[in-house]
């Protein structure tokens, strides 16, 4: 969560305090059985549709029994030896107080993690061509899910992969492949072979999405992993904004271990005095 504190100026400090408070609130809410940001001002007048094929609106992940945050999967997953070694290494480094530079912390799209367990509200926009899952707060993530039977042949690998969907009755079947292998999954990364499927069904009252997620990645897991999540309808809220790259403060990177060259920061904000306050310096690669 280092990114939450990448703020420096007066307004940034206020935002950071807000983000911090919201994060703490989220943690508290999580403990109480409720996730998500509560700071966004409400917008009255929004009601959920009871159309089982209309997911548009605002949702947030319900708490997951036995899990601190909805994207934390736990250590008892059927990891392959290499993935298990990676997870244990990350846990050991964390226990020693060393921060590993992950794509998530270094402002890259979060891919699978965000799809499994967003900790901020998710806006869903929908039309005949596609459904888009949008998170603007706490992290910025856009997942476009196209209504189609097949993925394109010339798929360009990406952090978030490529998603298609079709209806099976009133259950939406989402199929995602095409990951670039840099996406984040809990305490580890996953491979380019990740294949995520989701079965999403809306409750009759329109207030809950039941989501079954299957992760199939033979490089990471010895067998497919299936998770269940529920998202609850949220009344309208003003979309807030999260700008991870805004203040690349020097102290955020101090002591951080960069195992991948691409994650090393290009621009660093140095704290000075007087007119030199918040000076950003970039070194072109």
């Amino acid at each position: 969560m280092t990114y939450t504190f990448m703020q420096t100026n007066a307004r940034g400090a206020a935002r950071a305090a807000l983000a911090c408070a919201c994060l703490l609130a989220s943690v508290e809410l999580a403990a109480q059985g409720d996730f998500g940001m509560s700071a966004a001002p409400p917008i009255p007048g929004y009601e959920p549709s009871t159309d089982p094929r209309d997911f548009s609106g605002l949702w947030r992940s319900k708490p997951v029994p036995g899990s601190f945050l909805p994207f934390v999967l736990g250590g008892d997953l059927p990891f392959t030896d290499s993935a298990k070694a990676r997870v244990e290494y990350a846990q050991r480094m964390a226990a020693e107080g060393t921060q590993l530079a992950t794509p998530h912390i270094m402002c890259r799209p979060t891919g699978v993690n965000q799809a499994i367990g967003p900790i901020a509200p998710v806006y869903v926009l929908q039309n005949d061509e596609k459904m888009v899952f949008i998170v603007t707060d706490e992290i910025r993530d856009i997942r476009q899910v196209y209504f189609a039977d097949e993925h394109p042949e010339d798929l360009e690998p990406s952090y978030g992969g490529h998603s298609i969907a079709r209806w099976e009755g009133n259950t939406l079947l989402v199929d995602t492949i095409g990951y670039n292998g840099r996406g984040v999954l809990d305490n580890a990364v996953h491979s380019t072979q990740m294949h995520m499927t989701q079965r999403i069904t809306k409750s009759a009252d329109g207030r809950t999405l039941h989501i079954e997620i299957t992760l199939n990645d033979p490089v990471t897991f010895t067998r497919p992993v299936t998770l269940e999540r529920e998202w609850a309808w949220v009344n309208g809220q003003q979309p807030l904004e999260f700008d991870c790259e805004e203040n690349p403060r020097e102290d955020n990177f101090a002591g951080m271990v960069f195992e991948e060259e691409y994650l090393r920061p290009v621009c660093i904000q140095y704290e000075g005095e007087g007119e030199e306050l918040s000076r950003v310096v970039c070194e072109q690669p």
Binding site: P44, Y123, Q238, E246
Partner: protein, 230 residues
């Protein structure tokens, strides 16, 4: 009599053509990927003039011009991939997609995956705090156009690539109108009493990008490859 019929016919055709420009195309016709028609590195008024900057703002603008000319881009937060905000994303040479939904109109900007959600509830929303994309509310008009009012635009961003400054008081009102199925026109009005001596307007035209889909753009990865941030 023939000429009268011709006139009537002409009026009818004009009426149909008029409808086809707005109402008849319908709201869903706004859906799609759009790209600005002309390179617009610097915003100008409808008369092609420099916006009416107040002296202090003009001095800052000229400083930005000087610094960019000297290769110093640190006044421009695009340098380190921070959000460049509005209206700059609307005039950048990067495509964006509009998606019309019942509750919101989404603008998906390819540049670094920014998304703008325009609330269509009809509620007056006061900005919670200034943000790069501000707080936007929209309303469909009888003529088929979409009017979007954006407040709470944070002053740390610049309005265009050249470096036009603004304050947190900036209010941006866009009137988006389909000229035809593949041409979208936006009249944008700017009011910012701390920066400009009077409100001013500009016009931007976008062309539909048939068959295009937005790519996952990661600015930090791009500058790692030695490419420009924007």
């Amino acid at each position: 009599m023939r000429s009268g019929l011709n006139l009537l016919h002409g009026l009818l055709l004009a009426g149909v053509a008029g409808l086809a420009c707005g109402d008849e195309l319908g709201r869903d016709a706004f859906n799609g990927v759009w790209l600005i028609a002309e390179d617009t590195p610097a915003l100008r008024t409808l008369d092609g003039e420099l916006p009416p900057l107040l002296p202090e703002a003009r001095a800052l603008y000229e400083e930005h011009l000087r610094r960019r000319e000297n290769g110093d881009t640190y006044f421009d937060r695009a340098t380190w991939c921070a959000g460049v905000g509005l209206p700059r994303l609307l005039i950048a040479n990067h495509p964006f997609e509009i998606m019309v939904d019942k509750r919101q109109v989404g603008f998906f900007f390819e540049w670094n995956r920014w998304v703008r959600l325009v609330d269509m509830s009809g509620e007056e929303l006061e900005p919670y705090y200034p943000m790069s994309l501000g707080t936007a509310t929209g309303a469909w008009q009888d003529d088929g156009s979409l009017v979007i009012t954006t407040k709470g635009l944070m002053h740390e961003t610049i309005m265009d690539h050249a470096g036009l400054p603004h304050s947190d008081e900036l209010v941006m009102t866009e009137t988006l109108r389909l000229i035809d199925a593949d041409t979208l026109e936006s009249h944008i009005r700017f009011e910012d009493p701390l920066t400009f001596s009077a409100p001013w307007e500009t016009k931007v035209t976008y062309l539909r990008q048939h068959g295009a889909r937005l790519k996952e753009d990661v600015c930090l990865d791009r500058i790692k490859q030695g490419l420009p941030p924007i």
